[in-house]
């Protein structure tokens, strides 16, 4: 029997997170440039909710892993967790607030009210995207053939 059920679930799950990352990044950059766009602001609110849930899950799983307990999660999410945890240890390539303070604490960054925190947010979103994109590669190559 096919083993794609994990690949496809993981693929769509990562798609949602990646969409939220870019929706929030664009809205933040517009806000910094003084560009007003009501739909963008609505999309940013939805993106914050999505990322908040994701970071909470990542943070909880990471804390559990630190305590030596990694159960109740599927293997694909475990791979994502491993990538995130090794990125946190790779300070020369991952220096954002998200990586410094960890996913659970970084969730408060999502609201970023001023210029300084918005820059921190953009940096964090950029690094989070690198992690999720790297993880999605596995699922994409399992689902879609290269031409």
């Amino acid at each position: 029997m096919r083993q794609h059920w994990l690949d496809i679930q993981s693929f769509f799950s990562d798609q949602r997170v990646l969409a939220a990352i870019d929706d929030l990044a664009i809205a933040t950059k517009f806000a910094m440039a003084g560009i007003e766009d009501v739909e963008r602001q609505q999309l940013a609110r939805r993106a914050r909710d999505e990322l908040s849930r994701f970071l909470l899950r990542l943070g909880e799983a990471s804390a559990a892993a630190d305590a030596g307990k990694i159960t109740g999660i599927d293997p694909r999410f475990k791979e994502l967790l491993d990538t995130y945890r090794s990125a946190r240890n790779d300070r020369s390539n991952f220096r954002s607030s998200l990586m410094r303070v960890g996913a659970q604490t970084a969730a408060t960054l999502l609201d970023a009210p001023d210029k300084r925190t918005r820059r921190e947010l953009l940096e964090s979103l950029d690094e989070l995207r690198r992690i999720v994109e790297r993880h999605q590669q596995t699922d994409v190559s399992a689902i879609l053939e290269e031409i």
Binding site: M1, R2, Q3, H4, W5, L6, I8, Q9, F11, F12, Q15, R16, L18, A19, D22, D23, A25, I26, K29, F30, A33, I35, D37, E39, R40, L43, I70, T71, G72, I73, D74, P75, K78, R129, V140, I143, L144
Partner: protein
């Protein structure tokens, strides 16, 4: 870059529009109407994203071009997945698909959480894409969709959808079982050295691998609960012919697989089948399985990836999961059905098919078209 991105998004908009047009024109059976609506809605969502990309580009703010590029790539990737998997069942729909579609519609309707969910059928080995944000896509080999004996394997695939619907509760139960596995395999004393470290890593991986294994065991249990003996027979018959790897997989490979080895699954199924009162079918399947293993010169060996201590906790977990899923149970009269006659239920007909096949496979081949037409033409349930 802005010009190129604008062009790319305009092309994507055209691609999506073309696909929507094709989907709208497709001649499909009634069972796929809901599926078409949902795939059209997904296309509309992608089109909205493309429009949003074009609007973002209209502000000509270069800082955002990278993000717009990534959003464009995301649309492209999702469109490729739709083109590769989700559109085909509508655009290549065949009248012959109706048998499996009717069985699947019945299956979904019998379970309240899935009654309103759309689905379709695609070519391939038995499988499912059970993401809840998309309609379910079932995979079924072409020849199996026009014959009855292996249709019960769809019940296993349907189990993946039930798991997805009840994910939170299911994950909690799996977590408990993983803790049991960790305890059972924990070394009695703290060990040191490279070999001990390697063994610890192996056991940690085994605990993790239990997650997808539990889902497979659960889906097997669902298949048995819904189909009874016909599922057990279809499952064992399908796996017996898969090759030696259905019976034995070296532990280094097994611990990385998302499916437990077939022999272990058969063992779990036989145990449950006997508890459900299908002793006759269980004894026959067990004898055939063991005879095949002897011919292949394979003995039952999980090489330290399983312990008998886990059988009772596994059964308990599966009982809880099946109850949580609220899967429809087979009726006693369906389990012992022997006649391919009008008025039978789908499950009754599938069980009768196996009975007739085992009595006289040649005669059954001639009777099967009639049984198929009974499912396709009557208000069977």
């Amino acid at each position: 870059m802005r010009t190129e991105l604008t062009r790319s998004n305009e092309d994507l908009c055209h691609q999506i529009g073309t696909l929507q047009h094709l989907l709208g024109q497709a001649r499909i059976p009634g069972e796929l109407t809901g599926y078409r609506s949902e795939i059209e809605a997904v296309c509309e969502e992608l089109r909205r994203q493309v429009r949003r990309n074009l609007k973002d580009l209209s502000y000509d703010h270069p800082d955002t071009f990278e993000n717009v590029l990534r959003q464009t790539q995301r649309v492209m990737k999702e469109l490729e997945v739709i083109n590769a998997y989700y559109a085909g069942p509508l655009l290549r729909s065949r009248e012959d698909d109706r048998l499996a579609l009717i069985v699947l519609r019945w299956l979904h309707d019998e379970h309240p959480p899935t009654a309103r969910r759309a689905f379709a059928l695609s070519d391939g080995q038995f499988g499912i894409y059970p993401d809840l944000r998309y309609p379910s896509l079932f995979f079924l080999p072409c020849s199996r969709r026009r014959t009855l004996l292996y249709l019960p394997l769809l019940f296993h695939e349907f189990g993946h959808l039930l798991y997805a619907v009840h994910r939170h509760e299911m994950d909690d139960l799996v977590l408990e079982f993983q803790e049991t596995v960790a305890n059972v395999f924990a070394p009695p004393t703290r060990r040191q050295g490279a070999v001990a470290a390697q063994e610890d890593a192996f056991q940690a991986q085994l605990v993790l691998t239990c997650y997808p294994w539990c889902q497979e065991f659960f889906c097997d249990a669902i298949g048995l609960r819904i189909g009874g003996p016909c599922f057990l027979k279809a499952f064992a018959s399908y796996f017996r012919l898969q090759g030696t790897h259905a019976f034995y997989v070296p532990r280094e490979k097994l611990v990385l697989r998302e499916h437990p080895v077939g022999w272990l699954r058969i063992r779990s199924l036989l145990c449950r089948a006997r508890r459900l009162g299908f002793e006759g079918a269980a004894a026959k399947v067990e004898a055939d399985w063991n005879a095949t293993a002897r011919l292949l010169r394979v003995t039952e060996d999980y090489e330290g990836t399983w312990s008998n201590e886990l059988s009772a906790p596994l059964d308990k977990m599966l009982d809880d999961m099946v109850e949580e899923a609220g899967a429809k149970g087979i009726l006693p009269e369906e389990a012992v059905a022997t006649e391919l006659t009008a008025g039978s239920s789908i499950i009754g007909l599938l069980n009768a098919s196996w009975q007739r096949f085992e009595q006289d496979s040649g005669a059954y081949a001639k009777e099967e078209p009639l049984a198929i037409s009974l499912i396709e033409t009557s208000d069977i349930n």
